[in-house]
Amino acid sequence: MRKKYLVIIYSISIFVFFVLYLSLGKNKVYTTQDNIGKKIAEVQLNYFDIDGEFNTKEISNFKFTLLNFWASWCGPCRKEHKYLVELSKNSNLKIVGVNFKDEKKNALKFLNEMGNPFSILTKDPEGKKSVNFGIYGIPETILINNELKILKKYVGPINSKDVKEIEKIINK
């Protein structure tokens, strides 16, 4: 009988250890990587400096699209901007910018200083439309194909490694 109890206690201990091992080994940094493979939300975004709206459905007209959420007040956006300018030279890619909770005057100054990599520039002055894309801080960048499928999602500024990864995908 004593042996039976020991077997039960050991089995429970192994189970608890296994559960703890699995949960502690998990990455605790929150990401929205679950969105990869999903279709991009259909949202109407106002153009930055002209009247009218850009529908994210239009992304299907381009081979690959990089949807970048940025603002002039965001330091990391300044850091990643040169990589966006570099990527904008690739003919397989269109970069759609979403100017996030920003002042028009400051955003224009930013683009004049740093260059404009955006084929299409839109704005989300209240940040509410960006919720549809799972954005929780900027910069964030989403790579989408012409089937409107999310291929990659970068939270935080992109770097040279990300540029290589994006180029590898779009040059296939």
Binding site: I8, V19, V131, G134, Y136
Partner: protein
């Protein structure tokens, strides 16, 4: 008569607005602020929390149900945004293991007590 109907209209509109406020508060209390340390969206004043508060307010005004709002947000940010994890295939263990352990513990306790009483007899 006019005053009476005006009072009735005002009364019902205030009841509806109170219910909406309550519903919004309940939803915001169950949402995790993703950029804060263990705070709910309701308690946080971060930029992200303020945006989500506005989005939830709008959805409530548009007549979305609680379930629909939770579904919308968990679709965009994952189940991590919800404090009450929904019952799904991958969360069965989380929901049922406490009950299984409780039953097993009870059975074990019963066996031990029965064994001891048998011995004393």
């Amino acid at each position: 008569m006019k005053i009476l109907s005006l009072t009735i209209v005002l009364f019902f509109s205030s009841v509806i607005s109170y219910c909406d406020e309550n519903k919004t508060y309940e939803i915001l209390k169950n949402l995790r602020c993703l950029v804060c340390q263990g705070q709910t969206i309701s308690d946080s004043n971060s930029d992200f929390a303020l945006t989500i508060k506005e989005v939830v307010n709008e959805k409530v005004e548009e007549g979305f149900s609680k379930k629909e709002i939770y579904h919308f947000l968990s679709d965009k940010y994952g189940d991590w945004i919800l404090f009450n994890t929904p019952l799904k295939k991958n969360s069965y263990i989380l929901w049922f293991v406490p009950y299984v352990l409780f039953i097993l513990g009870g059975a074990l306790l019963y066996l031990v007590i029965r064994k001891r009483t048998e011995k004393t007899k």
